[in-house]
Amino acid sequence: MAQSAMESVSEQTMGLPDPKKDAEIAGRSPLQIAMTRLRSDKIAMVCLAIVIFFFLIGIFAPLLAKAFGVEVRGGDPSTDTDIFNFPVIGPPDHPFTWQAPLGLAPNTGDDNLAEWLYGARTSLMIATISTVGSTVIGITIGLIAGFSRGWLDRVISFVIDTFLSLPFLLMALALAPIITLRFANQPSVLKYAQVISLVCILTFFGWMTLARLIRGEVLSLREREFVQAAKVMGVPTRQILRKELLPNMVAPIVVSISLSLPAFVAAEAGLSYLGIGVIGVPSWGQTVNKAVDYFDTYPLYLYAPVVGIFFLVVALNLLGDAIRDAFDPKTRR
């Protein structure tokens, strides 16, 4: 898609026909076309609504918790749990109560709803930051690798291959205790260090696919006439990359973002489940980890975070698929 070239051609060859007719036919960029197609996709719109819903929950978690009258880690084990360490109000042994709409956690008596709301926040925050980070890194490296010929391209490609060959899970497992022990004596720092390190781990292991994709696109575009023309005219490389090449790669970037968000949500939950994600901050993965033993005695405890992860990840994935289809001129649905 050589956008700028095509636009200049169409303006010249179309001349100035009837202005009414012109309004109907012209003036739609590929992005606009994609958005129109996306808007007409009902599944995509439902998924978008769900995703927005979760983002609102994440953003307004403290207000929502206050509205329900619940707080994080507010449980008192000796008064809130019975002899079996099960909650004394709400499920599974007692009827529903507004005091704890999702019940209390066994052992600690912490409120599950508060934990769930803040868990959504943790999940989305980490996934969003990681996505932005890995996308920026991926685009930058991909552009540079694709446009620079010779040794720089080879070095960058080698780095990309190296990162792709590192086993993500093993690296995460190895890094987690190092971070924990490094900041062991500073509990207040540790909390942030863990969040930041998790974001870094997810970012550092998430940029390679996009970088490769961008590099391939750049390789196919850089020999095109409009790029050659820009070069001949003496446009600086930085400007060629930003103004000529980047706009032509909006589609793969948007698709990559929409598909890496759900992957990061799932990865965050998975790492927390393994006990190497964020500690001390509410997280769906941690709740699942604690709740698996209760799958039959206290199913709600387990299902709340599982349903949260399920809907968010499915909605994000379906939305991502729809965006990809919308941006792909070859699919017709």
Binding site: P77, S78, I83, V88, D93
Partner: protein, 583 residues
Amino acid sequence: MRLKKSAVVIATASLLALAACGGGGDSGPSDVVPSQGEGGGAGAGKVPDMQGPAAVPDDAAEGGTVTIETLQSPFTFDPTRAYYTDSTSIMSLVTRALTQYVYDPDSNDMVLAPDMATDLGTPNEDNTEWTFTLRDGLKYEDGTPVKAEDVAYAISRSFAIDELPEGPTYQLQFFKDGDKYKGPFKEKGKLCSCVTVDGNDITIHMSRPFPEMDYYASFPVFTAIPQAKDTKEEYGNHPLATGPYMFKDYKPGASLTLVKNPNWDPATDPGRIQAVDEWDFHFAQDQAKFENTILSDNGDAQTTLTYDNITPPTYKKISQDDPDRLVTGTSPCTYMWYLDMTKITDINVRKAIGYAYPYVDVWKAGGEIVGLTRVPGTAILPPGTNGRQEFDVLGIKGENTDPEKAKELLQQANAMGFEIKFLYATDDPLSVAAKDQVVKGLEAGGFKATPIASTINKIREARSDYDSPINVRSSGWCSDWPSGGSWFPAQWDGSLVGLEGMPNQANFKEADADAKQKEILSMPADKVPAAWGEFDKWMQETYYPAVVVGYSGTAMIRGSKIGGMYNDAVRGMPTFANMYITK
């Protein structure tokens, strides 16, 4: 004795405690109150004249296979090195020692009885010489007879702590030449001069009085190992059986299969039966999975059991569905918060920690069942110990947290906001939950709480490091035998301060306490247990160097066809020697 491996981790993790089985709540199913059952103790009784064979119960079926599922993996099965409770308990089926603990149904406790020896040993007047007489008719699994020399060799072998580390070490302190003799490997086959053999008589010579040798003789260390067949480090992979079962297949860390030993004669053994054909131990299993298997009680699950303490949801299910399959009881371990005497120098601050510690909250958050797997208490010596005294220095029964009193004491000491630093494991959710409760409790009591992060793998190392930036250490200790003699000299002796591994975790070094201990060790045997009970009380009243955060308890489940499974109160394990499959 050391706690089961993972229990140590949990102790540090959930370094905290429980309150009365209250909490219940008005409408909860609180008609069931957790209790460890009648009786129970720590095996203080002795029956020197118990005779074999042990009776096989009427409802026992012939043969069958018992499956044992556990999340632990025993550290070793070398008789010389076995010191963790799971190892010593499983070993009791395979290697016989001079004495053994036998389950006594009348008291629901273990009693000390003879094993390979004909009685519980005869000390000389000042307890510096113990003589055990070996029974006739004892054989190894290969049919060769057991000789007194083999026992002497096994005892000598226990001095080889460089080659065979981690075993019990009382022999180094109490036996003659214990400080010089380095074991048969370094001494080119020479045996320890502390053991002499005369026919079937084995005499152990002490360097100082050791009145409790009969208890110590029940450790697997005091089995028989033929010198010619010792494979050193490999021996733990197939120790020669003298008991009713022998190794068939052992995959370290994964599984162990025991089959009948045809050369074991029931007439020589007052404590064991040989009813089942095979024992299948599966180590390092997933707890939720095997708990549910045993709960379901279908097929093979009927002959399956676990010796791990069950989780609260399983406790709830089993007490509603089939309480008979729940085996509970005491085990002689005390969990403590060891207060570093060099860093927390004011006794009022130390006592304030005891008042502020949120016992019940921490126990519950750590997944303990209050009153069952964690029992409140105030004395360092656990219930059932000989000569133990009940006392309550703080007057809160070891469970009623009193933050107001803590603040008052802190004000007196002019130490409001005193900083308490303790370890927790970030990768153990129960440890993290317990830590949250400790922080909450300490802050309510006027302290500043600084949890120091560690991981499951690193926490023991960090705890036994003198340079760790912590001033309390959460750990525990279990009786090696039911008297203070296996407690205070091992953990509270001033001479231990500074030693590798930090055995004296409170850095407790007080001249008058050391003098008292020395005096007790030289007392006549019959006065010793009571003196230790008195010392326990005196030490806590005078120095309060540790917050007792409860005693351990046992809560295990079994399939419906397993018979004879009781709680071995000495180890907190099932009574394997009594078990059979019912008809």
